[in-house]
């Protein structure tokens, strides 16, 4: 970086800090503790609070719901370096993301790379403005880890495809407005070669959703059924039958998102949460030396992973990143997040077992603990991630 670039960046940092300071309501600088603290956007969305609305609208108007997307598509047009500065400044004041969505994390990057101009113009600004909420139609009852064996059919009929089949683990399908979906357009081709990536409205005739009750007692996922859903062929992203390329690219973004999940809830440090619950000895050390050791080892690994995540971004910027590295991060990040919640349960002891009381905020801790068990399954299991690392990065033989 030249001196003038560094000076510009420093100026950007000053301006950004001042703007955030002036515009981020104090309520939006508190850690996210429940699902209603997250604003997802969409046709039927409601703001949980006035500060949430204000914060969202101010950020949207600057294009900072999607800071690094081009301005013409509703983004902020920031460079990678500026984006890093913005994230750092937001993290410093604990500012919440103004808008969360699968459109931002997953579909957007895929459309920017594979979408045609009409598709970008149609969909990206609505994602940026939180107008349309997207869901992901990937897994099927018989296509989980072996995603490419998916069977949902899309049959050609004039200018349309007619889609029949079912998806499972469709996150928030019951709240979503549109779906990005993998469908089989050529049943005769090899399994990776007959898949297309297609977009359609969840309000289309023939779409139904059914929430799945999970061990956490929540239903963040659905079964989604398509019964002869008619979709214009122009809604295919990329080339027909080449949808696997788009799918894989999007999965890299999904995995990066999931690996970062643990970092989201940065509230009080684990050691202090545990000290409040378990108590401390005369020297102020946690009064459970084995738990203290587990927490300290966790803290070491968490700090190291944060450095690795930072480095992954820097490597990508420098053009030195391995495309499969998101699988490595996904594996480690999700296993670490499970460890965090096992520790939280141990630290909470008896108090972390309550499921329905006001005192326990309706069992927030055990439900969150159970939710994390999906982290190492969704978006590709730990075992699939390790297989990808072994084959694509280490170039080990077989399969």
């Amino acid at each position: 970086m030249s001196e003038s670039e560094a000076a510009d960046l420093e100026q950007f940092r000053e301006q950004t800090r001042a703007w955030l300071e002036a515009n981020c309501p104090p309520e939006m600088r508190k850690p996210v503790t429940s699902d209603t603290d997250v604003f997802w956007g969409g046709r039927n969305t409601k703001f949980a609070s006035e500060p949430q609305r204000i914060w969202f609208e101010r950020m949207r108007d600057k294009g900072w719901t999607v800071p690094d997307w081009p301005r013409e598509y509703g983004g902020g047009g920031l460079s990678a370096a500026e984006h890093k500065v913005l994230r750092a400044e937001m993290a410093k004041m604990g500012a919440r993301p103004p808008l969360s969505s699968f459109g931002i994390w997953m579909l957007g990057p895929a459309l920017l790379k594979y979408g045609n101009e009409a598709q970008k113009k149609e969909h990206l600004p609505k994602i940026a403005a939180g107008l349309i909420r997207w869901c992901q139609g990937y897994s099927e009852p018989n296509a989980g880890s072996d995603l490419a064996s998916l069977q949902t059919r899309a049959e050609s009929d004039g200018d349309d495809f007619v889609i029949t089949g079912s998806k499972i683990w469709t996150s928030y399908a019951n709240y979503a407005d549109w779906i990005f979906c993998l469908v089989r357009t050529d049943p005769t081709a090899k399994k990776h070669d007959g898949i297309s990536f297609i977009l359609f409205d969840m309000a289309s005739k023939g779409v139904t959703t059914k929430p799945i009750l999970l061990i956490s007692g929540y239903s963040p996922f659905c079964e989604t059924f398509f019964d002869g859903v008619r979709v214009p062929k122009s809604h295919v992203v990329g080339t027909v039958n080449r949808g696997w390329d788009v799918a894989k690219y999007l999965l890299q973004h999904e995995r990066a998102m999931i690996s970062g999940m643990g970092e989201r809830g940065v509230g009080r440090p684990l050691g202090q949460i545990a000290a409040d619950s378990v108590g401390t000895d005369a020297q102020g050390k946690l009064d459970d030396s084995m738990l203290r050791g587990r927490i300290a080892s966790f803290d070491v690994d968490e700090a190291a992973l944060a450095a690795c995540a930072e480095r992954a971004v820097d490597l990508a910027k420098a053009g030195q990143a391995h495309p499969a590295f998101s699988s490595a991060m996904k594996y480690y990040g999700t296993e670490l997040n499970k460890r965090r919640h096992e520790i939280l349960m141990s630290a909470g002891g008896v108090n972390a077992l309550e499921w329905e009381s006001e005192r326990s905020r309706q069992g927030a801790r055990p439900r969150a603990w159970l939710r994390t068990k999906a982290n190492s399954i969704e978006g590709g299991t730990t075992e699939v991630m390790l297989g990808i690392v072994a084959k694509r990065i280490l170039d080990l033989p077989g399969a």
Binding site: K285, R292, I295, V300, A303, A390, L396
Partner: protein
């Protein structure tokens, strides 16, 4: 600062790698070991490294050094870790040079630093006394005597101790073992009356010694830094050493890992390459991720040291703790996946296992640094 090497750092890495892999592959260590070499490293090679600017890498230019930072020192340490080259770089050029540069007065700096830079002076820190690294437990006594001090006590794991021209000895001038107050660093001539040096042949075939001081007289000019207030200086110098050893362990881990993955791609059993077995693939993949994460944590620590040594403690603790567990895992998996061959002296892999064990103890093991992080975070 980005956590990737700059162009200059990449060039430094390439030149270090070129020289070290050419002049000091693992066979170099093996032959020094087998010959029971009295010096324990190649003086000739050290002089070439000095000529290239490595000996004075951290020394400011006004004292004949290159004036580079800890990130650069880490780049060199990582290359040293790949071939296990024995050299005075760690003890002299990283630890002792930092102690002198950070704690020395003008006279001490101008006397010693130029000689470190040109490769003519070997120096080392004498810190450990008990079985484990516990700097605050220092009990080697320094009592005032006339214009100076008299030092009595023993030190272990003094790197290059039997060949060093200068000891930097951590001693207690006040207070009791365990206290921060009352620590003082002294420059001690190894040839002084009352110094006994025993070279200890170590498991990793690298240099170390036990030294005993019996009423060794030093004058007041031998104090490095301030009397009784040496703890802060020592913390910084040790953290610099820890960051450097973590970088060595990253290089060591990656080299073992690369050799092991190569083996998985060539060794056949049950009519298959053993790298086809998922049980081994997943373990290799996990180890790869561990090493990548540890590399990032180590770069982060070196960067933190470059920014401000006094504020780098937590980053360094994370890096050294991670480097310890990662290297331990890497060498164990390395030997296990090499099967019976891994147990033979003829195969190099055992050299890595032995060096990793020493690096783990050097300047505090993973348990020590994990404990430090817990304390720093107040639980």
């Amino acid at each position: 600062m980005a956590l990737v090497l700059t162009e200059e750092q990449s060039m430094l890495r390439d030149s270090a790698r070129g020289l070290i892999s050419d002049k000091a592959p693992v066979s170099h260590l093996r032959s020094l070991r087998d010959a029971k070499d009295p010096t324990g490293f190649s003086k000739e090679l050290w002089h070439s490294l000095a000529e290239m600017g490595f000996a004075g890498l951290l020394v400011p230019e006004e004292f004949g050094g290159s004036g580079l930072g800890f990130m650069e020192a880490g780049v060199v340490m990582e290359e040293i870790g790949r071939t296990l080259m024995p050299s005075p770089f760690l003890a002299t050029s990283v630890v002792a040079a930092s102690a002198l540069n950070r704690g020395g007065n003008a006279a001490q700096k101008s006397e010693h630093l130029p000689k470190i830079s040109n490769g003519s002076l070997l120096a080392t820190l004498a810190i450990d006394e008990g079985a484990k690294h516990r700097p605050l437990q220092t009990s080697l006594q320094a009592v005032r005597a006339g214009n100076g001090f008299k030092l009595s006590g023993a030190k272990a794991l003094v790197i290059d101790g039997h060949v060093a021209d200068l000891f930097i000895v951590a001693a207690r001038t006040a207070g009791a073992a365990g206290e921060r107050e009352g620590l003082t660093l002294f420059l001690v001539n190894p040839k002084a009356k009352g110094v006994a040096i025993e070279r200890t042949i170590m498991v990793d075939a690298h240099n170390a010694a036990r030294i005993e001081l019996a009423n060794v007289e030093v004058n007041a000019d031998s104090v490095l830094g301030e009397v009784d207030q040496g703890a802060a200086l020592l913390d910084g110098v040790l953290d610099i050493g820890r960051g450097a050893v973590a970088a060595e362990m990253v290089g060591l881990s990656e080299e073992v890992f690369n050799r092991t993955v190569e083996y998985l791609k060539n060794r056949k059993q049950f009519g298959k390459l053993i790298g086809e077995f998922q049980a081994l693939q997943h373990r290799a993949a996990e180890l790869y991720v561990d090493i990548e994460i540890t590399r990032a944590a180590t770069m982060k620590a070196l960067q933190a040291l470059d920014a401000d040594v006094a504020k780098a403690a937590s980053s360094v603790a994370v890096a050294k703790a991670r480097a310890g567990t990662t290297a331990t895992r890497a060498v164990q998996e390395g030997v296990q996946m090499h099967g019976g061959m891994g147990m033979t002296d003829q195969f190099d892999i055992g050299f890595f296992m032995k060096r990793a064990r020493v690096c783990e103890e050097l300047f505090g093991d993973a348990s020590y640094h994990t404990e430090q992080l817990a304390r720093a975070r107040g639980y």
